[in-house]
């Protein structure tokens, strides 16, 4: 008969009954709100800190929203990313007759879907959708939440409040982070979920139950609906978890392997599931696996920044170099900090708590590093990625967390264990010097990052949007024309609305024509590539009563958008005739409207 006392009990805290009772004593109800005095101390502490934390996050979100509003309204510098994501949510909701399937086509599913409950506000106030505010609200909340998660992760790594708060602030105020949070970027949601996963993973590394691992897995699944970086993070994390689980487990090798496999499954299963389901639904909505795959590798085709396209493209070395430079600009001391953190993580002393902290550091770096690596690879191998700082944005939290790990010294770990020990004056001075150096390195990233955002050669997309605002004197004609970029889209939408066209009579690639769709009062007239019927209609537009085909002239260095791909020779195609060229006050090529003969 096995010993029942040896049965493993749950990891979560239970309600232990105080041993203070005698049969004749009135016993406070231990199952109630912590006896006669009310709640348990940790609950009281938690309740006291939650409002402060929530207020800080909301205040930060309001700040990002204010910046986004200032850029969008004050300068009419509506960020294309915000409009693109809003259009992705807007079109299925208002254009495709309530069919939400196209939301699942390609990446960015969650940041897009998160707008669906907000977009009905556009009935009351159209600029909420047409100026991308909906997307900015979502990105501001997610980015503020990401900062909150970074703060919590720092705490879980052993950083005290006086360290965790500045670290979170250095992340939240980084210019690239502010830009992403204020401009509706899908990166905000991705960062939030990756940092949430990091926080939970660190807690698991530090001896938490498998529930922490599950929470990390669910957060990774959320990230999997925001961008490809989650896949890299998932692979790296699953490997790291398996290694730690194997080393932690006792018993024979077979039992350890089973434990490693089980923990790997717990963390990886949600991500695998949402990825499979997303692709499945996307394929159903898009009409075929091939079409879904096409959107996977090229979902955000936009761009066209004249003069910036030559010499780049898929397979070229130049995007990789550009990505490396972008990373160095965002965090100039990233490499130094990361190496230091990895060494510190490996060198932690042998006390259990410190060792767990060390593993937590390495686990956090593996997760974010995996995400960063894949985002960079995807950006380098597919089109469009290297034009924005977005894919390299993960280097910011990666560096900040690495720096946090460097500041959590052995004494900090000992403090956590409750054995505060005295440090000598020399040690303290050395620690302060080190912390000051780390602070200087992270602070230096702020102005350098800001400069990078305005550098055409480093961040073409951001520079195109921001130079007219921050360096109007040095802006090129194209940059100066950026605020007028969508005027032609709005005019074209008005012209199309005036035709009173029936549903599904205008073919447009919503990856480039999002502003046309958003500006139209009759979005049902459009057919978007994410819809399965797009290819059918494009193959024989006259038969299906398609009236117009909208396209911009091809830019040689980029693959054609889906309208240009469906009609490789728009000008010479006998089925079409050019009926209108939109007036073009902005920085992008003018829209051509082709009538179907």
């Amino acid at each position: 008969m096995p010993t029942l006392d040896a049965i493993r009990l749950p990891d979560a805290p239970n309600t232990a009954i105080p041993d203070t009772a005698t049969p004749n004593t009135t016993i406070p109800d231990p199952t109630g709100p912590a006896g006669a005095s009310g709640r348990r101390p940790q609950d009281q502490a938690r309740r006291a800190t939650v409002p402060t934390f929530a207020h800080a996050v909301l205040a930060l979100a309001a700040g990002y929203l204010a910046v986004g509003g200032w850029l969008g309204w004050g300068w009419d510098s509506v960020p294309p990313e915000a409009l693109r994501l809003t259009a992705r949510a807007y079109f299925p909701l208002f254009g495709a007759g309530g069919a939400l399937g196209p939301l699942a086509v390609g990446w960015d599913v969650l940041p897009t879907a998160a707008q669906v409950p907000l977009l009905p506000l556009a009935w009351l106030w159209r600029p909420f959708a047409t100026t991308g505010i909906s997307a900015v609200v979502v990105s501001a909340l997610f980015m503020a939440g990401a900062a909150g998660q970074l703060y919590r992760t720092a705490g879980a790594l052993g950083a005290r409040r006086r360290v965790a708060v500045p670290m979170a602030a250095l992340f939240a105020l980084h210019p690239a982070v502010v830009y992403a949070g204020a401009t509706g970027s899908a990166q905000a949601a991705s960062l939030f979920f990756l940092l949430l996963a990091t926080h939970q993973l660190v807690r698991w590394y530090r001896g938490g139950s498998s529930n922490r691992l599950a929470a990390a897995g669910l957060a990774l699944a959320g990230a999997g609906l925001c961008g490809p970086s989650a896949l890299g993070a998932g692979v790296a994390t699953a490997a790291a978890v398996a290694i730690v689980a194997y080393r932690r487990a006792g018993g024979p090798a077979r039992a350890r392997r089973e434990t490693a496999r089980a923990d790997m499954l717990v963390i990886a299963l949600p991500l695998l599931f949402v990825t499979a389901i997303r692709i499945l639904i996307g394929a159903v909505a898009a009409g075929s696996w091939a079409r879904e795959l096409a959107f996977e590798v090229n979902s955000g085709l936009l761009p066209a920044v004249p003069g910036e396209l030559s010499g780049s493209g898929t397979g070229s070395v130049r995007p990789v170099v550009r990505l490396a430079v972008q990373s160095a600009v965002l965090e100039p001391f990233a490499v130094v900090t990361l190496i230091g953190a990895v060494l510190a993580g490996c060198r932690r002393d042998t006390s259990t708590l410190a060792a767990e902290t060390g593993r937590g550091v390495l686990g956090a770096l593996a997760l974010l590093g995996g995400g960063y690596a894949l985002a960079v690879v995807v950006a380098a191998l597919t089109t469009g990625g290297a034009w924005s700082l977005g894919p390299t944005l993960l280097v910011v939290p990666l560096t900040v967390l690495a720096a946090t790990a460097l500041t959590t010294t052995r004494s900090t770990a000992s403090d956590l264990a409750g054995s505060r020990r005295r440090v000598s004056g020399w040690s303290a001075a050395r620690r302060y010097r080190r912390d000051a150096a780390i602070a200087v390195m992270l602070l230096a990233a702020l102005p350098i990052g800001a400069a990078g955002l305005l550098a055409r050669g480093i961040a073409p997309t951001e520079a195109q949007a921001l130079r007219a605002v921050f360096r109007p004197g040095a802006a090129t004609d194209s940059e100066a024309a950026f605020p007028d970029r969508y005027d032609q889209d709005r005019a074209l939408a008005r012209w199309l609305d005036a035709q009173h066209l029936p549903a599904h009579s205008v073919l447009v690639d919503t990856a480039t024509g999002f502003a046309v769709v958003l500006s139209s009062h009759h979005p049902r007239q459009f057919v978007a590539p994410a819809e399965a019927r797009f290819d059918v209609l494009a193959a024989d537009p006259a038969r299906y009563r398609v009236r117009f085909v909208l396209a911009r002239p091809r830019v040689a260095a980029l693959p054609a958008d889906r309208v240009n791909r469906a009609f490789p020779d728009l000008v010479g195609d006998p089925r079409l005739s050019l009926v209108r060229v939109a007036a073009n006050p902005g920085d992008l090529p003018a829209w051509r409207v082709y009538g179907v003969r």
């Binding site: 049969p23 709100p33 599950a214 089980a262 923990d263 499954l265």
Partner: protein, 491 residues
């Protein structure tokens, strides 16, 4: 943290008279009228406007599904944050002087189970409880000579009394337990099934917990787990399900301050409270679940005791179906019994608790019954693109159904994975991925339960024990308790 007990001094107490026979009639007159009305409406609707009627039905069921899904998520969340188990350390339990311990009555209802009786008596002998304060009532049907012979074959400790239960209908475990309750001398009382292996300190832990807890806590449910989890795939699934049940669902219900459907064994009561409640409903085949709801209605609380009783997982599919269909039938009985005066029940329990009761006790078997219908519709759509399926799911309903299909099913699989991991037996984790197969078995059992509810509502389908073989059962390691989707262990 467990929520404070609700203050319900003014709540109308249900009359104890008739509690033992509440399930004798499956439906009350009001329920018959209501059911007939719904049937007429449905048939009329199908005849006059079939599409809107069916769409409305699908929409209603989809809402029920998503509500049940949300309820399970809340339970999981609460249990994961803090399961609120009542923990008594071994040192504390052993520190109580023998003379200070109350008299404890252990009821052991058994019927034709000679093969496992010796094991049970050995387990009871291992209980660390003073023999002079222990009373074990072995409740045997009067025609059960074989078990009686087995009981007489071994040593006969002073605390053991064999009680012959005279023949009468229904021949159920709760009827035998009521007889035992009438004879019990103990201040506290518990039930062990014949194949149980309770943790030796369980009675001491429960006695000390009852002493320290307020009098409103009338019941402590110990956790149940299996000793033969490695026997086959079915026992692995069953083990995972139990882990989910006792580590997530029941603690979640406790944390919600909702009615807790008890497990059929290792539930410990204050005897006076149990007598005041008139014992068990002899006609209910999950009398334990029914009793948990009645305790709640009277303002008493049930908590989960952090102590494990090992049982034998059903390793034979047919035997499992019998057992599970009885559990589902009992849940349906319990649901119907406590739904006879819905407004009054709602006032007694509070709207939220009453809703939870309906979703948990009623929803568990009903959704298992309905699942095959929706699986078939899904299959018809994806394989054959059958047109009427699309008609049944207009856009809004489609999205709700998709959430249930995708998120709901994944969540239940993942909960199983987590429960399997929490057992400390990582080998169970990969098998829990296949738990979809287990759901098919559950739906089969639920269908059988529904039929039996109509034709033989109080028929107690006996579960055979000892299928795990004594050797393998004794050899394997125990599992920490964890859960199950629809049941408990009134084997």
């Amino acid at each position: 943290m467990i929520p404070a007990p609700r203050s319900r001094p003014d709540a109308p107490a249900p009359p104890p008279i008739g509690a033992q026979t509440a399930a004798r009639r499956t439906l009350s007159n009001g329920q018959r009228v209501l059911l007939a009305g719904i049937g007429v409406l449905f048939v009329g609707g199908c005849a006059l406007a079939p599409a809107p009627t069916l769409v409305s039905l699908v929409a209603l069921l989809s809402i029920v599904y998503i509500a049940a899904f949300a309820e399970r998520l809340v339970l999981l969340h609460k249990a994961v944050r803090d399961p609120g188990l009542i923990t008594i350390s071994p040192a504390d339990a052993r520190a109580v002087p023998d003379d200070d311990l109350p008299i404890y009555t252990v009821l052991v209802p058994a019927y034709r189970e000679p093969e496992v009786l010796a094991q049970l008596l050995a387990s009871i002998a291992r209980l660390e409880y003073p023999a002079d304060r222990l009373e074990v009532l072995l409740l045997l049907e009067e025609d059960d000579e074989e078990t009686l012979a087995a009981a007489g074959a071994g040593p006969s400790p002073a605390y053991l009394r064999v009680v012959r239960v005279p023949y009468s209908e229904p021949r159920t475990k709760p009827k035998a337990c009521n007889i035992g309750l009438g004879l019990a001398r103990g201040d506290l009382i518990t039930i062990f099934d014949a194949e149980d292996r309770p943790e030796p300190l369980q009675l001491r832990r429960a006695a000390l917990a009852f002493r320290r807890l307020p009098a409103t806590v009338a019941c402590l449910q110990a956790k149940l787990a299996f000793f033969n989890h490695e026997q086959n795939l079915l026992t692995r699934w069953f083990t995972t399900e139990y882990a989910m049940w006792f580590e997530q669902m029941l603690p979640g219900l406790v944390r919600q301050d909702a009615p807790v459907p008890l497990g059929g064994t290792s539930n410990h009561f204050r005897t006076d409270v149990l007598r005041a409640l008139d014992g068990w409903d002899a006609f209910n085949v999950t009398e334990d679940a029914d009793l948990g709801v009645r305790l709640y209605r009277r303002g008493y609380r049930t908590l989960i005791l952090d102590s494990v009783t090992l049982e034998e997982a059903n390793s034979d599919a047919i035997n499992w179906l019998k057992q599970r269909s009885r559990w589902y039938k009992g849940y349906l009985q319990t649901w119907l019994v406590h739904s006879r005066q819905p407004l009054r029940r709602c006032r007694e329990m509070g709207p939220a608790a009453y809703l939870r009761f309906n979703l948990f006790v009623g929803g568990t078997p009903m959704l298992a019954i309905l699942n095959p219908v929706f699986w078939a519709l899904t299959l018809m759509w994806f394989v054959g693109r059958v047109g009427f399926v699309r008609t049944l799911f207009p856009t809004g309903v489609l999205y709700i159904s998709l959430v249930c299909l995708v998120a709901g099913n994944f969540t239940f699989v993942y909960i199983n994975v987590l429960a399997a991991r929490a057992t400390g037996l990582p080998g169970l984790v990969s098998r829990s991925l296949l738990s979809v197969g287990y759901w098919v078995l559950m739906s089969l059992a639920a269908g059988k339960a529904l039929v039996q509810l109509i034709i033989a509502p109080s028929f107690w389908e006996k579960t055979a024990h000892g299928l795990g073989s004594g050797a393998s059962a004794a050899a394997v390691e125990p599992v920490s308790a964890n859960p199950l989707e629809a049941s408990h262990a009134n084997a």
